[in-house]
């Protein structure tokens, strides 16, 4: 069953995520990225950032929260077993640090019905506690038609 294009524009969120340095460290260790900007408090404090910062792809942790209500949306009724992550885009507007409270809101940006697949993209805008946009993410999923 093709995903209906009438859902273009449907909104998800807002969802809020509080960034903590232990989560940043856990994420960096899972990537096996030993960059001390993410792991070493003393180094990070002396760096130009003045403390631990989140790696760029940490954006998937705070903004990717929106994937759950989107995947589980009963109206959309996505065939999860046939779904793969096709593309991922981030635009970065500010550094994210421990203590930041990030609120993400998103909407379905596009749905393309192709011969063998549907392609669906979700735009997610993440703002910090000062209301400043820190990241725009575009998640693109490809769903094979059964």
């Amino acid at each position: 069953m093709a995903v209906d294009r009438k859902f273009i524009g449907k909104e998800y969120g807002p969802m809020t995520y509080e960034v903590c340095k232990e989560k940043i460290k856990e994420y960096a260790r899972a990537i096996k990225n030993e960059d001390p900007h993410y792991l070493d408090e003393e180094f990070a404090t002396r760096s130009k950032y003045g403390g631990i910062i989140a790696p760029p792809t940490f954006a998937v942790i705070y903004s990717g929260q929106l994937a759950m209500p989107f995947f589980m949306d009963p109206e959309l009724n996505l065939d999860f077993a046939m779904l793969v992550h096709g593309e991922q885009e981030f635009e970065f507007y500010d550094i994210v640090r421990p203590g930041d409270v990030i609120t993400t809101q998103g909407k379905i940006a596009n749905i393309e019905n192709k011969e063998k697949v549907d392609v669906i993209s979700l735009d997610a805008y993440s703002r910090n506690q000062e209301g400043k946009l820190v990241c725009k993410a575009v998640y693109t999923f490809v769903i094979r038609k059964s």
């Binding site: 990537i31 900007h37 130009k48 950032y49 790696p55 096709g86 635009e91 970065f92």
Partner: protein, 143 residues
């Protein structure tokens, strides 16, 4: 770790320093699942992966994007990175060793920003492409 880098020092065609990651282990998939909250069993449960027609678990695409992100920020300081996008082109399996490379394809002045654009690529030990992508960074001027 990234040193200061200037727009004038970068030329179209310059290569990003390579980053080699792996060989990947299933344990790293488990670590990444826990760290990211993506518990799709396709990445951690061989029985599940076989039931959907694969020969075993595959890595999270975002883990490989994380490797590419590491390659970028070991070259370009995080605060200069403006855009980063990838297309997931192939499945990565336990045992694969991933090499990330890239090169500068464009330099341009955009308002008061001095932008470099690079193409990036992640491949396994057989040359099979896992991720293709691009990033843009706004670099400082020396003068």
């Amino acid at each position: 770790m990234s040193q200061e880098i200037y727009y004038e020092d970068i030329n179209v065609g310059d290569e990003m320093p390579k980053l080699v990651k792996g060989p990947l282990q299933k344990l790293q998939h488990v670590m990444y699942a826990g760290a990211s909250g993506d518990f799709n069993p396709l990445h951690t449960d061989d029985d599940f992966a076989k039931a959907v027609g694969l020969d075993g678990v595959i890595a999270h695409g975002m883990l490989i994007m994380g490797f590419v992100g590491q390659a970028i920020t070991q070259w370009i300081p995080r605060k200069y990175l403006k855009r980063f996008g990838v297309r997931f082109a192939g499945m990565t399996k336990p045992g694969n060793t991933i090499t990330v490379k890239g090169n500068v394809v464009e330099k341009r002045v955009d308002g008061n920003e001095n932008i470099i654009k690079c193409e990036v690529l992640a491949q396994d030990e057989n040359g099979d492409v896992k991720v293709t992508g691009h990033f843009e960074a706004a670099l400082p001027l020396k003068s």
